[in-house]
Symmetry: C2
Subunit: 300 residues, 2 copies
Amino acid sequence: MNARHPRSARPVDRESAGRSGVRDEPADGVLTERSARIVAAHKLLRRARRAEAGEFLAEGAPAVAEAIGAEAESPGTVLEFYVTETAGTRHPELARQAFAAGITVTQVTDRAAAALTDAVTPQGLVVRCALPTTTVSDLLATGPKLLAVLVRTSDPGNTGTVIRLADAAGADGVIVAGEAADPVNPKAIRASAGSLFHLPVVTAPDAADLVAQLGAAGLSVLASTGYTDLELDQADRDGILDLPTAWLFGSEAHGLPPSLIEAADERIRIPIYGRAESLNLAAAAAICLYASAAAQRRAG
Amino acid sequence: MNARHPRSARPVDRESAGRSGVRDEPADGVLTERSARIVAAHKLLRRARRAEAGEFLAEGAPAVAEAIGAEAESPGTVLEFYVTETAGTRHPELARQAFAAGITVTQVTDRAAAALTDAVTPQGLVVRCALPTTTVSDLLATGPKLLAVLVRTSDPGNTGTVIRLADAAGADGVIVAGEAADPVNPKAIRASAGSLFHLPVVTAPDAADLVAQLGAAGLSVLASTGYTDLELDQADRDGILDLPTAWLFGSEAHGLPPSLIEAADERIRIPIYGRAESLNLAAAAAICLYASAAAQRRAG
C-alpha cells in the first residue's frame, strides 16, 4: 500500500495512460481493491483457490517481464496484467509489450495492487497467469537430459531458488513431487526470479510412481543424500553424471524418504570437508545440478 | 513467549534444577525479563551494542551446542548460558556440558528467554558469547588454503548460509569486508547452523586493503563475477583452483565493486547454461567453494 495515497483511488491521467498502453476499465476509472475482478484475483493468493481456478498471480517487474515474454512462445500464459499508474510510468515497456502480445492491461489503484501480493512492499505490477497444464509425461516426451525433482520440500523459497538454479544449470525441467510447497506460491515465484517462466515446472502427486516413470523414460535417477559412500566427484569420474539424469532432492528437515533413496539408480553424497553437519537444500542442488551440467557438456 | 505462562515467573524446582546443572541466581528465583542482566543482554540484539560490549547472543539448540563445544577449544567463548526450565528439561545434556565446561548456567523465565532472541518461536536456550578477537592478520598467519570473502553483502541470512557453506567445503575462514551484514546478527547465526563456532569469521572494514593483504599473504584472489570470459571449469582445468585461494563474493543486488574485480588475480564466471539472468549469492558460493575444495584435494 502506498503511504501517500492511503485510501483514494488516484484519478486516471488518460493521456499518459494511453501513451503507456494502459487500458482503464471500467470506463469510469481504475479498478480498486473492491472491484469484483480484484476481489476474485486476490483469492488466488490462497493455494486452494489457485488449484480450483487454474490460475496464479506473479508480482514484480522481473516476473512480469518473463511472463509477458513467455506469452509470445505459449499464448494463453498471461490472462491479465494489472498495473498502477506509478508502476506503469516507471516501466512503460512492460505495458507496451503486454499490449503488443494481446494481453489485457488493466490499470489498478495502489491498494488494489497491494491486494494482489503478499509482498511487504508491493511493486504495482501483477500478472494473472494460467497454471501450466504440462504433465510429467509431456515433460518426459521431450527427451530431457537433466531434471531436478523436489520431494516433499516445504519451503516455497527453496522451491523457487531451485527453479532458478535448474534454469541456470540448463536443466530441462523441475518436478515437484509429493505433498510439497506450491511452485506458484508468491514466495516461490519471487525466489525463482522469473525462471518459472523459462522451463517446465510440473507436479507429481506420488513420488514413488514418479521414480518408476523417470526410470522407464531412460533417465538415471540420482538421490542426493548424506547416507551413502559414493561421493559426487567419484560419481563424476565414473561417468555417472554423463547420462541423462533426474536428481532427487529431499526436504530440508527430513531429506529423502528411505524408500526413494532405495528406488534410485544411485545414491550420491556431497562430501563435507569441514565440521558442518550438512548443506542446505539450495546449496546441495546448486552443486549437484552444476556438476551434471558440466559433465554432460564435457561428454558432449 | 510462552502462552501458558504469560506473566508469572515460574517457581524454581530446586531438585530438578540441581540435577540438570542449572544454577538459580539470584537465590530467590529465576531471572525474569526485568532482571538487570537480562535487560543488559537483550540490548545485544542491536548491532551497535554488540560492538560496544564485545558480546553477542546465539539462540537455539544447534548454536548453543556448538558454542559450548567451542568453549573447550577456546575458553572464554561462552560467557553465560540462559535456559528456561522447559528447555533445560528437554536438553539436559546442554546444561550438563556447559556446567562441565565451567560456563555460568542461569535459569530464566520464558519471557526472559524470549527477550534474548528475535525468533518468532523462542527456543528457551541462549548463550551470551564474546565477540571473536581474531583479526585478518591472525587468520592469514595460519596459512589458510581456502577463504570465502563476502564484500558488502547486506542479507544476514546469506552471510550465515555462506559461513555454513565455507565450513562444509573445509574452508579455513570467512572474511566479511566493507559495510556488510553483521555475521553475529541473530539471523546470520540461525542460517550458519552452528558453523559460526567452527571456523574463524573475521571482519575487514576496508575491502581494497584486504585484497592487498590477501595477495601479500600469497593467496590467489579470485573474483566471482558474471562480467568476464573465464569460466569456472576452464579455470579448474588451467590449475587456477589448485592454489591457495580467497574467493570474493559481492552483494546480491550489486555484485562486486569494479575496483575489486580489477584488483583480483583472476575474474571467474559460473556459466549460465539456461535463461536465468544470474545465480544467487549462496548458490554461487556453493559452486565456487566446492570447486576449489575438490581441485585442492585432487592437487594434493
